[in-house]
């Protein structure tokens, strides 16, 4: 049962991303003016590519799917006090393991799709396993080890796709890639379903099964974190290792568990691109999604619900960047400036609002 009770503290806490967003938009418009464009043109350009038609909006949602999963993966680890910077590498490896099942293991669709999803998760978790063990047994900080593992993953995957797993049959194919994924493992689209609901999503937009995976995972993580004992322990460890230790919580096990689950989620980031868009695995799958996840987790305040909004916001901004590039003289890369300044604003307002809330609570008590 969802109880919708107005809580003024929760409301204040939610304010900072909103303020941060609008402050960043002001920065954007100032930059636009400096470049010599009119704010009006910029706003129109952004609007055209993001919100002007149902198709555009569906595209934003489509882009948001992998971003959401990435943000979810990072935020789960953050909750346990683990800085999983290795989401990038974990999704490269997870995606490949899932793809291998999709390419080489003939199965009926009803089993094949769940299997590739499960193996993508296993692959991602395995790639997180070594940094997790290094942290638990040797005290090696996960930020260092996961950054290294990102590089190893990239090189490793590059080698496999160019070498043993190469599926190139004709010389005309330039992009290194694996063989084709079997039809039984390909993700279908939900566009028809949305059209039936009255949202005219055109065929070329990818609202595929990965959306279902994202929704299920989002709900699962929310339930885990806030409704179960394990989630409570994850949040406790992320808040204070000392207090948790004194309370008898097995701190290391909890952190390893959250780390692996984070890696498993990371393994799902590539589903859309590999199984719905391309139909094969390549070294060229979108890079940087793992790093976007860090910012998304931060903006979403590490809560599954917050990460939904943050992922949509990021998807919106990515599209907005293309819009600016297409219709004005403003470069696409301005979006990096905007996301950066937005994060900065949000962090600052978070702190200010947290102070205000503390003062309010004290007042309430006295």
């Amino acid at each position: 049962m969802l109880k919708l009770k107005f809580n003024k503290y929760k409301f204040f806490e939610m304010l900072s991303p909103v303020i941060g967003f609008f402050a960043a938009m002001v920065v954007l418009l100032i930059l636009v003016i400096l470049v010599g464009e009119t704010p009006r043109n910029a706003i129109v350009a952004i609007y055209k590519l993001t919100l002007s038609t149902p198709a555009r909006m569906a595209t934003v949602l489509s882009i948001a799917i992998p971003l959401f999963i990435s943000g979810l993966a990072v935020s789960l680890a953050f909750r346990a006090g683990v800085f999983n910077i290795g989401v990038e590498g974990q999704y490269y490896v997870g995606g490949l393991v899932g793809a291998l099942i999709g390419i080489y293991l003939p199965l009926p669709p009803i089993i094949h799709i769940p299997m590739v999803i499960i193996f993508a998760m296993i692959g991602g978790a395995l790639w997180a396993l070594i940094p997790a063990l290094l942290k638990a047994t040797k005290g090696i900080h996960e930020v260092i080890s996961t950054i290294m593992f990102n590089n190893i993953a990239l090189a490793f995957v590059n080698y496999l796709v160019n070498g043993p797993l190469s599926g190139i049959t004709e010389k005309s194919q330039l992009e290194a890639q694996t063989g084709k994924i079997l039809d039984t493992a390909l993700f279908g689209k939900l566009n028809g379903f949305f059209r039936a609901l009255g949202w005219p999503v055109p065929d070329y937009v990818y609202l595929d099964y990965s959306l279902i995976v994202a929704v299920i995972m989002g709900f699962f993580i929310w339930f885990l974190l806030f409704k179960t004992r394990y989630g409570f322990e994850i949040r406790a460890v992320g808040t204070s290792i000392d207090v948790s230790h004194y309370a008898g919580i097995r701190v290391k096990k909890t952190q390893i568990g959250a780390f692996l689950l984070s890696g498993a989620l990371a393994g799902l980031i590539g589903l859309q691109e590999i199984f719905a868009i391309r139909g094969f695995y390549t070294y060229e799958i979108a890079s940087g999604l793992g790093f976007d996840g860090i910012a998304i987790a931060l903006i979403g305040r590490n809560s599954p619900l917050g990460v939904i909004f943050a992922a949509l916001l990021f998807a919106f901004l990515k599209q907005a960047g293309y819009g600016l590039q297409l219709h004005t003289g403003v470069s696409n890369s301005i979006i990096y400036v905007i996301t950066g300044s937005m994060i900065l604003f949000i962090v600052v307002f978070n702190e200010l609002i947290a102070r205000y809330i503390r003062a309010l609570r004290r007042k309430e008590i006295s």
Partner: protein
């Protein structure tokens, strides 16, 4: 002996949202005077000192230094006007040497190249004048707490402070070190400096202060000359009602052995022998007090009982069963309750609700979890409401986050949690450190109650009076060994003090 007025704070008012932290507070300090500032936690002492040190701006009121109205905008300003503050939590850079720490921010240099000789000479002079012996080239992290405090004092003196503010300086010190600190106070007093001394320990205040100002709820209740002050009077002024610090404790026959340690030995990471054969027994219905100067193995003993740590030898038994292989959870589940020494670090999940904190440690057991380890919020809340009520924790609701509570109330939450888990053994480490008299009274009564309910209580405290008022038996710890045990009624403060310093070894 007291001379000219160094400092006068007049009608200082400071309001925080909802709280009048200082309400027309007037306070003055003469040269060659030690002026104690006492009051419960949250009474407004710290705010007043923050205003003096430029960390807070008053809403109204004036500060006069030597009869000149001044405005102090920030700590740098305060330092330049001759005001120095020795914080409760030290502001030192651990890997830096003593000398580097002292000059930090006031480095003397030529074209950016540090000159260490001039300050070193000056500091040596200050050390000599004030009896603050400390090795200048040692790294601060290698110094014991008492010496780190000296470095803080030297920092302040090096900057030429005339007015020195000490915020609960003895909270971290052993009785012997506290005495040395007071010697330093007296020397500084002779040099005509003024000292503001904030403390909870009324004995100390009466020993060292010339005048005592009592603050309650943001107002000055009274400023007393030492000659007219007494412990009951100050205590009464502080809390607004007479407080009985005498503990009402009925004699009671102790029961079976609950905790037994057997030749415990442990070595620290640095290779020191920290536990050197601890043998002790705590019975049901008994408070066993461990007296000793801090750093003689108390912390390590508590850790060995509460957590799985590496021991060189020995055994710990709970009701005859060895607990060495048990992890923290198992130990808790089997009935070891723990009031941690460092409450801020180990006690509460501050952003979490009181309900979460009150069940923390048993949160994994029914009735707090249902099938499939799903949290039963209803049960947690009901249990917490009961706890809040029966332990008189002042909070708007059980869903309020712990960090919204005052320090004393936070300590109540920890004690209530441990008591309600009905442990067989309750380990209480420095349970009243830094709490006000009201909270102290509560803690004492709870420890006695635990004992009367037949729990075994192991009390570790740096406060000898606390041990003497609560314990049924006292063990004196020295260099990792219990060197002497007494029944409470067979011993005295002097006798325990004698053993605490390890005197009998040389005697």
């Amino acid at each position: 002996m007291s001379g000219t007025v160094l400092l006068r704070m007049e009608e200082i008012t400071k309001t925080f949202p909802g709280v009048r932290a200082n309400d027309k507070v007037s306070f003055d300090l003469k040269s060659g005077e030690i002026h104690a500032l006492v009051g419960e936690n949250g009474a407004g002492k710290t705010t007043l000192m923050k205003i003096l040190y430029g960390l807070q701006k008053p809403d109204s009121g004036t500060i006069y230094l030597k009869n000149q109205a001044v405005s102090i905008k920030n700590p740098k300003d305060a330092i330049h006007q001759g005001i120095g503050m020795v914080h409760q939590h030290f502001m030192l850079v651990p890997p830096f040497t003593v000398l580097e720490n002292i000059i930090l921010g006031e480095e003397s240099h030529r074209a950016g190249v540090l000159n260490m000789n001039i300050p070193a000479a000056k500091i040596t002079e200050i050390i000599r004048e004030n009896g603050l012996q400390v090795e200048l080239n040692t790294n601060v992290e290698d110094l014991p707490v008492g010496l780190q405090q000296r470095v803080e004092i030297l920092k302040v003196l090096y900057r030429g402070a005339e007015i020195l503010v000490f915020d609960e300086p003895t909270a971290v010190l052993t009785p012997k070190k506290a005495k040395e600190l007071f010697d330093t106070f007296r020397r500084m007093k002779e040099q005509g400096k003024g000292i503001i001394f904030i403390s909870h320990k009324l004995d100390e205040v009466l020993t060292i202060a010339d005048r005592i100002t009592v603050i309650r709820r943001g107002r000055v209740i009274k400023t007393l000359e030492r000659t007219e002050a007494s412990k009951p009077l100050i205590a009464e002024l502080m809390v607004g009602k007479p407080v009985f610090l005498e503990v009402d404790k009925k004699s009671k026959a102790a029961g079976r052995v609950i905790l037994k340690t057997y030749d415990l030995q442990a070595t620290s990471e640095r290779g020191h022998k920290v536990l050197n054969g601890i043998n002790l027994q705590v019975h049901a219905g008994e408070i066993y007090g461990i007296a000793g100067v801090e750093g003689n193995g108390q912390t390590e003993l508590i850790e060995a009982i509460g957590q799985r740590v590496k021991l060189d030898a020995g055994d710990i038994q709970l009701e005859g069963e060895s607990i060495l292989t048990w992890d923290v959870r198992r130990r808790r589940d089997e009935g070891i309750g723990h009031i941690p020494e460092d409450r801020h670090k180990c006690g509460l999940l501050l952003p979490f609700s009181l309900a979460d904190n009150i069940t923390l440690g048993r949160h994994h057991q029914p009735p707090f979890v249902k099938k499939f380890q799903i949290i039963d919020k209803k049960q947690i809340r009901a249990y917490s409401r009961e706890t809040i009520e029966s332990f008189d924790i002042r909070t708007p609701s059980e869903l309020t986050p712990a960090n919204a509570l005052s320090g004393g109330n936070q300590q109540r939450v920890i004690i209530a949690r441990e008591m309600r888990f009905e442990p067989k053994l309750l380990v209480a480490a420095q349970p009243t450190r830094g709490v006000d008299i009201g909270a102290m009274e509560f803690i004492y009564s709870q420890l006695i109650r635990a004992r009367d309910q037949g729990k075994a209580v192991l009390l570790i405290s740096a406060d000898l009076d606390e041990i003497l008022s609560l314990a049924d038996r006292v063990g004196v710890i020295f260099k990792g060994r219990i060197i002497k045990e007494f029944r409470r009624e067979d011993t005295s403060r002097e006798e325990i003090g004698f053993y605490m310093t390890g005197e009998q070894e040389s005697a």
